[in-house]
C-alpha cells in the first residue's frame, strides 16, 4: 500500500511536467507581448526591447521553457504582470478561500446526495423517489450563475438572511456553498441511487436478509459499502471540479478565490498568473484523484489486493 502511494506520487511528476508543457506552449504562442503589457501601450520601443532582453523573452522557445520549469521547481512562477508580486504568492493567498468553498460545497452535496439517494433506491418508484429524481434533474440542469443570482435575490434582498457577497464569516459561506453544491448534490444523488439499486439485487444482500438482519442493517452495512466505489469516484470528481470550476460562483458572490483571480488574469493577459493557476489546479486535481484511489482500498479489499 505504501509502495503504491509512493509510486502514484512519483507519477505526479510526469503529469505535472506534461501540464506545464501544454500550458507554457499555449501561452508562448498566444499573441501579445508581456513586456508591452508591463510597460503600457505607449512605452517607447527601445524600452520595451530592453525589458524583453532582460526578461529573456527573445530566447529560443526551449530555453524559455527550461527556465520556466527550473524556476517552477523552486516555487517561483514568475511575477504577476499586473501587480508585480510573485504569481505563486498571489495564487497561494487565494487558495484557502477556494479550498474552503469547494470543501463546503462538497459537504453540502454529500450530506444531501447520499441520504436522498439511499432512500430513493430503497423506495424505488415511490412518491419520494419520483419527487427527489425530479429535484435532481432540476439540480443538474439549473445553471450555477442563475441559481446564485436567484438566491441573492431571495435570501439577501427579499428576506435579508444572508449577506449577498463577501468572505470571512460562516454566514458568508452558506449561499456560495449551496450554489456550488446543488448540482454536485444532484449528481451524487443519482449515482447513489443507481449504485444502490444495483447492489440491493445482488445475491449477498439476499444472504444478509436470510440471516434475519433488519432492513436498516442490510442497507447500511451490507449494501452501502458495496455501492460506495462509484459514489466516491463521483464525489472526487465533483470536488476536483469545484476546486477549479468555481469561477461563476466566486464572481457572483465576490469570493476571493483562485477562480476569480484566473478570470481577472486572463482578462488582463497576466500570463504568469494564468500559467501558475492552471498548474495549481492541475496539481490539486491530481492529488484529489490520488486520494480517491487510496480511499478505494479502504472501501474494497479486492482493490487493496491489487495495490501491491
Amino acid at each position: 500500500m505504501h509502495k503504491y502511494i509512493l509510486r502514484r506520487l512519483l507519477l505526479l511528476i510526469p503529469v505535472m511536467f506534461g501540464v506545464s508543457f501544454v500550458v507554457f506552449t499555449i501561452m508562448f504562442f498566444t499573441p501579445g507581448d508581456p513586456a508591452k503589457i508591463l510597460l503600457g501601450e505607449r512605452a517607447p520601443e527601445a524600452e520595451v526591447q530592453a525589458l524583453r532582453t532582460q526578461m529573456g523573452l527573445d530566447d529560443p522557445y526551449l530555453v524559455q521553457f527550461g527556465r520556466f520549469i527550473f524556476n517552477a521547481l523552486r516555487g517561483d512562477l514568475g511575477r504577476s504582470l499586473t501587480t508585480r508580486r510573485p504569481a505563486a504568492q498571489e495564487l497561494w493567498a487565494r487558495f484557502p478561500a477556494t479550498l474552503q468553498l469547494a470543501a463546503a460545497g462538497v459537504l453540502v452535496a454529500v450530506l444531501m446526495g447520499i441520504p436522498i439517494g439511499i432512500i430513493s433506491a430503497t423506495k424505488q418508484y415511490s412518491l419520494f423517489d419520483g419527487f427527489s429524481m425530479v429535484l435532481a434533474l432540476i439540480g443538474v440542469s439549473m445553471p450555477n450563475f442563475w441559481q446564485g443570482i436567484m438566491m441573492v435575490l431571495l435570501f439577501s434582498i427579499v428576506l435579508r438572511w444572508f449577506p449577498s457577497s463577501g468572505y470571512g464569516t460562516f454566514r458568508h459561506l452558506i449561499m456560495p456553498a449551496l450554489t456550488i453544491g446543488t448540482s454536485s448534490a444532484a449528481t451524487i444523488t443519482r449515482m447513489t441511487r443507481s449504485s444502490m439499486l444495483e447492489v440491493v439485487r445482488q445475491d449477498y444482500i439476499r444472504t444478509a436478509r436470510a440471516k434475519g438482519l433488519s432492513e436498516r442493517v442490510v442497507i447500511n452495512r451490507h449494501a452501502l459499502k458495496n455501492a460506495l466505489i462509484p459514489i466516491v469516484t463521483v464525489i472526487g470528481l465533483q470536488f476536483g471540479y469545484l476546486l477549479g470550476g468555481a469561477v461563476l460562483t466566486e464572481t457572483i458572490f465576490s469570493w476571493p478565490g483562485v477562480g476569480r483571480l484566473m478570470v481577472d488574469a486572463i482578462r488582463q493577459r497576466d500570463y504568469t498568473v494564468v500559467q501558475g493557476g492552471v498548474l495549481l489546479l492541475a496539481l490539486t486535481f491530481s492529488i484529489v484523484n490520488l486520494l480517491v484511489d487510496i480511499l478505494y482500498a479502504y472501501i474494497d479489499p479486492r482493490i487493496k489486493a491489487q495495490y501491491k
Partner: protein, 328 residues
C-alpha cells in the same frame, strides 16, 4: 411416526412480469418430519427456489407475491407472521445455503464477521464470544480459524461454500434449506461439500431440504424426495422406493434420461418437448403435453394426490384409475 417440522399447504406464489403473470408455485403441498432430509427435485424453473424463498418469506416483492396457502413450521403459520417476527426465525430457526458461493458472500466484509453478525443477532453474545463462535464454526467446516479475518475473494469456490454452510449453521437452526449447494462447484469439491453437510446434519440433528436437479445427489443424501414439475409437486416418496419404483410418468422420464451402468441401452429415452411457458401453463395436468401416456381427460382435470403405498404419493390420473397405463 416422528413429529412434523414443516408443513406447506396449497402454496401459491406468482411473479408479475412484462409477459404476464407467472405462476411459479401453485397448489404445492409438502411435509418434512423432524430430523429428515428432503430432496426437492425438478428442472430449472420448476419453482424449487421460489418454494424455499417462500418458506424464508424472502420472495422478492415486487415482482413476487405469496398469494395463498399456509406454511406451518413448529406449529406456527409463517405466512401469518409479521416481518419483525420473521426476522427472529430467519437465520436462527430456518437458515439457507445459496447456490452460487461466488456471489452469495459480501465481498467487503471478512468471512469471520459474516458469521459473527448472525450469531450476535440471534444468540445475544458479546462480540468477543461471537468471534470465538465464528472461529469454531470455521474450524468445523474445515477452514483454519486464522482465516476469519480474510475476505471472500481470498477463498476458492468450495471454501466459500463452506463459509456459507458455517453461516447457515452458526445459530444451530432446526431447518436448513440448501438451494443447489453444489451446482456451482467442481465434482470433487461437490463430494467434499456433500460429505460435510451430511456429517454436520447428523451431528446437529438438523432437518434439511436439499434443492437439486441432480438425482445422484438425492440418492446419496436424502431420506425422502419430492419431484416438482411446473410449480407443483407430482410425486413424493422415500428415496429408495422412488429410485426402484418411480410412478409418475415425469419421474419415470427423469430416470429414463440417466444412462445406466448395468443395462445395455444404446439410446437414452429423454422426456420429449420442453418445460411449458410459465405464463401459459397447460390446463389439467401440467405434464400432459409431454406425457407419453396422456389421454383426453388429462387436459381437462387436475389430478389429485393418490397414495400408492405408505408414504408414496403420486399426482397422476393413472393411479386414480381414470387413465390406462400404456406399456412402452
Amino acid at each position: 411416526m416422528s413429529e412434523t417440522l414443516l408443513d406447506i399447504r396449497d402454496l401459491r406464489v406468482t411473479y408479475q412480469t412484462e409477459e404476464g403473470l407467472v405462476l411459479a408455485v401453485d397448489n404445492l403441498n409438502l411435509t418434512l418430519k423432524k430430523g429428515e432430509t428432503l430432496g426437492l427435485v425438478g428442472e430449472t424453473g420448476a419453482g424449487k427456489t421460489t418454494t424455499a424463498l417462500a418458506v424464508m418469506q424472502l420472495v422478492p416483492n415486487p415482482p413476487g407475491t405469496v398469494e395463498s396457502g399456509e406454511i406451518w413450521f413448529n406449529g406456527e403459520n409463517l405466512l401469518k407472521k409479521k416481518n419483525e417476527e420473521m426476522r427472529t426465525v430467519r437465520g436462527n430457526q430456518i437458515s439457507m445455503i445459496f447456490q452460487d458461493p461466488m456471489t452469495s458472500l459480501n465481498p467487503v466484509l471478512t468471512v469471520g464477521f459474516q458469521i459473527e453478525e448472525a450469531v450476535m443477532l440471534h444468540q445475544k453474545l458479546t462480540s468477543k464470544q461471537a468471534e470465538r463462535q465464528a472461529r469454531d464454526m470455521l474450524k468445523l467446516v474445515g477452514i483454519p480459524e486464522g482465516r476469519a479475518g480474510d475476505y471472500p475473494h481470498e477463498f476458492s469456490g468450495g471454501m466459500r461454500q463452506r463459509v456459507g454452510i458455517a453461516i447457515a449453521l452458526s445459530c444451530n437452526p432446526s431447518l436448513l434449506i440448501a438451494d443447489e449447494p453444489t451446482t456451482a462447484l467442481d465434482v470433487t469439491i461437490q463430494a467434499q461439500v456433500l460429505d460435510l453437510m451430511r456429517r454436520l446434519r447428523s451431528e446437529f440433528g438438523t432437518s434439511m431440504i436439499l434443492i437439486t436437479h441432480d438425482l445422484g445427489v438425492v440418492a446419496e443424501v436424502c431420506d425422502t424426495v419430492a419431484i416438482m414439475y411446473a410449480g407443483t409437486v407430482v410425486e413424493t416418496s422415500d428415496t429408495r422406493r422412488l429410485f426402484t419404483e418411480p410412478r409418475h410418468p415425469y419421474t419415470q422420464g427423469l430416470f429414463g434420461s440417466i444412462p445406466s451402468l448395468d443395462e445395455e441401452v444404446t439410446r437414452l429415452s429423454p422426456i420429449t418437448g420442453i418445460m411449458p411457458d410459465p405464463t401459459e401453463l397447460p390446463s389439467g395436468c401440467r405434464f400432459h403435453p409431454r406425457c407419453p401416456m396422456a389421454a383426453e381427460i388429462c387436459s381437462q382435470r387436475t389430478p389429485t394426490m393418490v397414495p400408492v403405498e405408505e408414504g408414496h404419493n403420486v399426482h397422476c390420473m393413472i393411479y386414480e384409475g381414470l387413465v390406462e397405463a400404456k406399456k412402452e
